[in-house]
């Protein structure tokens, strides 16, 4: 059987990658590079970063800030209140109504575990 090299990036390169992440702020890279075991939650959360991002330090309206590192319970509470129509919003009430509560929970949990 062919010996296949396990092709991880060279360690030095990886450290540089992580250093860049910390320097520039992971929000500008979307979902941070370090892997999360729960890839389904990662995939669902990835649908949020088109809008919720921190683009190159430019001023971001409160409603569209990056979500990495948010407090899980606070985020979930907000999402559920959007869904119930209790918090005013332009799109979030409508979007959250398309998600199950458990899915919102998984997404909030995922973001809470990401480095801001």
């Amino acid at each position: 059987m062919t010996r296949l090299a396990h092709s991880w990036p060279a360690p030095a390169g990886r450290r540089l990658q992580v250093a860049l992440t910390l320097m520039l702020g992971s929000a500008s890279l979307g979902i941070p590079a370090h892997a999360d075991p729960n890839t389904q939650a990662r995939a669902w959360a990835a649908a949020c970063t088109g809008c919720h991002n921190g683009a190159d330090g430019a001023e971001t309206p409160a409603g569209m800030k990056p979500l990495a590192g948010a407090n899980r319970d606070a985020m979930l509470d907000k999402l559920l209140r959007f869904k119930a129509g209790q918090l005013p919003a332009t799109v979030m009430q409508q979007l959250t109504q398309g998600y199950e509560d458990a899915e919102l929970r998984a997404i909030a949990d995922y973001f809470s575990r990401q480095q801001p």
Partner: protein, 422 residues
């Protein structure tokens, strides 16, 4: 699952179980994915393939243009509140930050039996998985008048942002007051359903300020406005009365580019001073040529769990080129969402892991009705395992356009550019 044109001896998933992560299949070294097309879909796919494999997968992005000129927001260039430079984005971060290998060239042919693509330069690129995000091709052969010499300089589509956007803006600026700008809309499906109507608002906004006796005629092949219809009609009536006129059921039969006369099947011919002809579309030529556009010869059917082609194993197709699921529009936002699902599936497959059986994502689409005010439509899309397609939630719409939503829309653009390319 329909017949597979492209048969491979490799690549059963079971065969991967014993191989280390990110391995190429028949050769030593990291897995290689080639992504064709550097738009919202392709660029996002390239980035997330790198990100989610911890840079374990080698990703090569093939794109002929030096920069991505965003179709979203390009209508604001026509209205005058943005410039082409404002919406032109580079690929530098994809290369420097994410280690995507960028080749500035076209793909001239697929060689699926050999798992490689041939570039315009003559070189070939081998792959373990191929991602095609070729966008749309505009169909001209049903309009004999557009085959005449000079037609494409006189009659612009500006449906691929770039030089045509600037040229159409120049045509509008050169048009005398009291002139007519006609915008033709093809039958669904086409790239960006609300786009032509947003364009009508932008041109009307420009006319209202600078050429108030001019008119915008929206000549729609469809039976009604295809997106945010009630909202657009209200905007036209309230903000641009006497400027925008909407005519449904006007399918273009042919044009005379020199005189900018348009012929319809049932309606009387008319002449415009500026004719913006948006023709019918199909998947990008590369996909059509390769036999991947299996739906009515126009759109590529895919597996919505991975965006793998229904007829070609190992080839994934995403963005405007696919046969969309019901309720799924063709848009940059959608392509960005699809690309992440595709990237996750490829990363999982190459690592011998399970693909997410429940893709779940959304669409958010803003239309600018003036230089500052915008409105939205949103929907949520989830996988239906029984019918093997994505189902769409009911639409969420703005109650009215607003300046707040205009600010959100500009922020959305900056953020999705960062998500796609940064």
């Amino acid at each position: 699952m329909s017949r597979r044109h492209f048969l491979h001896t490799a690549l059963g998933l079971g065969g991967l179980a014993t191989l280390p992560a990110w391995s190429g299949i028949a050769r030593p070294g990291p897995a290689r994915v080639v992504v064709v097309g550097g738009g919202y879909g392709g660029a996002t796919a390239a980035k997330y393939l790198r990100l989610w494999s911890d840079h374990g997968i080698e990703v090569t992005l093939v794109e002929p243009s030096a920069a991505l000129v965003s179709c979203p927001l390009s209508n604001l260039v026509l209205g005058g509140s943005q410039t082409l430079a404002d919406i032109t984005l580079g690929y530098d971060a994809l290369v420097a930050r994410h280690g995507v290998r960028l080749i500035r060239d076209r793909v001239s042919a697929l060689e699926p039996e050999r798992r490689r693509v041939r570039l315009g330069s003559g070189d070939t690129l081998a792959y373990d998985r191929l991602v095609l995000a070729p966008g749309v091709d505009l169909i001209w052969d049903e309009l004999p008048g557009m085959a005449r010499p000079g037609a494409h300089d006189a009659v612009l589509h500006a449906w691929k942002a770039g030089p045509q956007t600037a040229a159409l803006r120049a045509q509008l600026q050169a048009m005398p007051d009291g002139g007519i700008c006609a915008i033709t809309v093809p039958r669904l499906p086409y790239r960006c359903p609300p786009g032509p109507y947003e364009r009508a608002c932008q041109v009307a906004h420009y006319f209202a300020r600078h050429k108030p006796r001019s008119k915008v005629l929206v000549l729609d092949a469809n039976a009604d406005v295809t997106s945010k219809g009630a909202l657009f009609k209200q905007v036209w009536a309230e903000r641009y009365p006497g400027i925008v006129e909407y005519r449904p059921r006007h399918a273009v039969l042919d044009v005379d580019a020199a005189t900018r006369r348009v012929q319809f099947e049932f309606e009387p011919e008319l002449q415009a001073d500026v004719l913006n002809l948006i023709p019918p579309m199909r998947a990008g030529q590369l996909a059509v040529q390769a036999g991947l556009a299996t739906h009515q010869g126009r759109w590529c059917e895919v597996d919505f769990l991975s965006f793998e082609s229904s007829v070609a194993s190992g080839i994934h197709i995403l963005g405007d080129a696919i046969q969309s699921a019901p309720g799924m529009p063709k848009s940059g936002h959608m392509a960005n969402q699809q690309a992440k699902v595709c990237a996750a599936a490829i990363v999982a497959a190459l690592a011998g892991q399970d693909i997410n059986p429940q893709p779940l994502y959304n669409n958010a689409c803003y239309s600018f009705v003036s230089d500052r005010d915008a409105m939205h439509v949103v929907s949520v899309h989830r996988y239906d395992a029984a019918r093997k397609t994505m189902t769409a939630s009911p639409l969420g719409l703005s109650s009215a356009p607003s300046e707040l939503e205009g600010r959100h829309a500009l922020t959305w653009a900056r953020h999705i550019w960062s998500d796609t390319l940064g």
